[in-house]
């Protein structure tokens, strides 16, 4: 009944150490934390890494197109047991399998990145600066100056929504009260997306410096990093960076929190619930986390990439950063996978087209037919949109979004109903189940697609648009609002694939 139990946040860590959700484990964790057994159990059973630990094979779209089924056969033949799971964030190395320690055991070659350049805001191939000059500038010039630079940079939140970052910062700054928190959202799990993974691995100091600047600016001392559970390596890089830069970080407490296998925890309020040791179910908004966030206190949460931009925004000026962009401010980490030559993370001016992005990745494979510009949530677009700027404001005009900028290219060997089906399976696996439009709706959509694929009778899809409308209108959070988009956009842009009577093939 206590809303904020100090020890409650420990239960997930303890459960992971127990390794299962047996009665004995639940009882021990309950006794150690004072959290009732039922609450421990209910929380544990929400998280895939606790419910189903062990080796896993990715069934994200990029992996499926690259041969998940063959990989599964191979593993089965080798006598290895595994779980088929949601996207593992390794689309550039598809198809992949992880062992129980989340180490890659089966994968393709390492993905590409942009070459070293001083004209990139983050510059994945660049060298780290352990002097934290941007933090020093912030301390020297004050919080107000930081906020001004942030505003003039035009930096938009890189987590997906693309709202100007200074809105959130200013909202938290003006909240009174002695306790505020900063959270780094490193729970990257959108299918097709793996940029934060690279950023944390290659430039962890950019992230830590950004967090310190944020905490300084809003007057917070406690900083939480919520890192996806399937990313132990990047999490370790961050921990190392915190140690290495200790002399700059004396006035901050860093708290590392590892995710436990739930995509929804990338949603900011679900992430907060998860840090508090609860089921990762999004909260109602309002109130927003900037008002009542972690432990009920004003909280500034930013994506890894947003935070990593702060170094150059302060060191080289907001105007410099703003000038990097093509249609919107700054450079952007674009992920690209699927049917392209060199999948990877490429830092390009914000607003490049698909063709420009694919050019950085060595060109298309086969005859491109469709693409997702920003992860599963952005749905599908026809290749005829290949020249459109990939930016935050333009893509919503055609019913899509830039989101996490995890672009996936699909060529004409792929059946769109099949592709839509697998994207929908992802959302069905990952919906928290809290609100009916999402919980029931996404299952309805997936089953309707299955029934259509099974017998080719398009009447199974009759109510799909209505259900999709309700999911967008009625769901609590963004997951439900977009979960029907893959199916709806595929039907909209590729009607021929959904009106058959079963004569065409649906191979992958």
């Amino acid at each position: 009944m206590q809303q904020y139990s100090a020890t409650r946040g420990q239960i997930l860590k303890l459960l992971e150490a127990e390794g299962d959700t047996s009665q004995e484990s639940i009882k021990r964790v309950s006794e150690a934390t004072g959290v009732p057994e039922a609450d421990v159990y209910g929380t544990a059973r929400f998280y895939d890494l606790i419910v189903r630990p062990g080796p896993r094979v990715c069934q994200g779209l990029s992996c499926l197109m690259a041969g998940t089924e063959e990989l599964c056969e191979e593993l089965t033949d080798a006598g290895i047991s595994f779980h088929r799971v949601s996207c593992l964030g390794q689309c550039d190395r598809a198809p992949v399998a992880l062992d129980g320690q989340m180490t890659l055991t089966h994968c393709g070659p390492k993905g590409g990145i942009s070459p070293d350049s001083s004209e990139l805001a983050m510059n994945l191939a660049g060298a780290e600066d352990l002097n934290y000059p941007a933090l020093a500038l912030a301390r020297k010039n004050g919080a107000e100056w930081v906020a001004e630079q942030l505003e003039s940079s035009g930096l938009q939140g890189r987590g997906g929504a693309g709202f100007p970052a200074h809105f959130k910062w200013n909202a938290v700054r003006k909240e009174s009260g002695p306790t505020k928190y900063v959270i780094c959202n490193a729970d990257e799990a959108e299918p097709g997306t793996f940029k934060d993974r690279e950023l944390m691995s290659r430039r962890p100091h950019l992230v830590i410096e950004g967090l310190a600047i944020a905490a300084f600016c809003i007057d917070a001392t406690d900083i939480y990093l919520y890192v996806r559970g399937e990313f132990p390596g990047p999490g370790h890089s961050l921990e190392q960076a915190i140690k290495e830069a200790a002399q700059h970080l004396g006035d901050f407490n860093f708290h590392m929190v590892h995710g436990h296998g739930a995509y929804i925890c990338g949603e900011e309020t679900a992430l907060i619930e998860s840090i508090e040791g609860k089921r990762g179910m999004p909260r109602l908004k309002p109130p927003y986390p900037t008002q009542e966030g972690l432990f009920g206190k004003p909280t500034l949460m930013n994506n890894v990439e947003t935070l990593a931009c702060l170094h150059s925004v302060l060191c080289r000026g907001g105007d410099w950063f703003a000038g990097l962009g093509k249609t919107e401010p700054g450079t952007k980490l674009y992920c690209i996978s699927g049917h392209v030559q060199s999948p990877g993370v490429y830092e390009l001016p914000l607003g490049v087209s698909l063709d420009e992005l694919v050019q950085a990745a060595g060109g298309y494979v086969g005859n491109p037919m469709a693409f997702s510009p920003g992860g599963a949530s952005s749905g599908f677009l026809p290749i005829s949109e290949r020249d459109r700027p990939l930016d935050f404001r333009g893509l919503p005009e055609i019913g899509s979004m830039l989101g996490s900028a995890g672009a996936v290219v699909i060529n004409d060997t792929v059946d769109m109903a099949w592709a839509a089906r697998w994207q929908t399976v992802f959302f069905e696996d990952e919906t928290c189940g809290q609100c009916a439009p999402c919980r029931i709706g996404v299952r309805y959509v997936r089953r309707a697609l299955d029934q259509f694929i099974e017998d080719g009778d398009s009447s199974h899809l009759d109510h799909l648009n209505d259900v999709a409308w309700e999911m967008a209108e009625g769901s609590i959070c963004g997951l439900g609002m977009t979960a029907a988009l893959p199916a709806r956009s595929a039907m909209q842009h590729f009607p021929q694939g959904f009106s058959r009577d079963g004569e065409e093939s649906h191979d992958g």
Binding site: G441, H460, E473, G474, I476
Partner: protein
Amino acid sequence: MEKSPMTDKFDITLNGIRLQCESGETILDVAKRDGTYIPTLCHDPRLDPAGACRSCLVEIDGQRRLQPACAFKVTPDLNIHSESARVRKHRKILMSLYMADHGAPLETEHNGDQLTRMARDCGPLLALNPVEAPRAARPAEDNPYFTFDPSLCILCARCTRYCDEVEAVNAITLSERGASTTIATAGQRTLMDTSCELCGGCVDTCPTGALMEKKPAKLNQVNPRKVRTTCNYCGVGCQMDLNVVDDKVIKVSSPEPGTTLNDGNLCVKGRFAYDFIHHQDRLTSPMIRGTDGQLHEATWAEAIETAARGLLDVKERHGADSLGFISSSRCTGEENYMMQKLARAAFGTNNCHQCAAT
């Protein structure tokens, strides 16, 4: 005297009508006071708003998204629409989805099933195929009072929130996620093997009939006569309704939250321990001990006469203060008055007390 907290009063507009309200109130609070119906499923005034069932979503000018009336706090000059075309379309498809997830066809209405009634109010629904959610029941549930049918559950979480926020025993929880989400105990043990105190508040608050009492189900009766009375166990004085069919109490239900001092709550004794009323061991006939030393059935007239005579005899032999009259806190106020009046006025002694002077 205590200072009353500062309250702002202002107007909002609901469906074109100006209504006065106070800061801190939700849209649902204001609508209820005005008598405007907004459907709810996961709402219970005793619980923090969850906003999870989505049935109370309304349209608010200036808000991009529909907002839950149960949780959205009013601010001055809000313009709210609870019956717009958008809200109605939302409600209709939402109810269609619920019915695709819910095991009961519309024709059969379960005991206390708000959902089916609400779905009926939405007019013709979309004919969606059942989604066959894999919600699990507890495998070996053996508690004596209620059943849980996961196929009728809509996961409004009123039961789990009641168990946490009101009863605070945390016996049940939401478990699993997505379509598999269900109401569980720790390790799916039977309720008897948990911290559950069998208060039945979860059953009482369930809006769909997923949680049902076993006892009345046996009798399979509809529309019992309800008699409001005061619980006969402890000294809290909970108000409750005896549900009567054919001169038998078949169930005890609690009054609406907010209407009596127990706020819709009852404990295990108040809600379930009523079988004694019609128990076979009740005394049904006056008895008199005969000269053989055994008790024999008697008429009321004989028993009353024997009782009065016996007590008068003792008084005559040993004086009024050789008599003792033990009244009962189990009986009514009027009966206690009668007992002390009997002792004092009819037998002339103040030796009258009751079992618990404390």
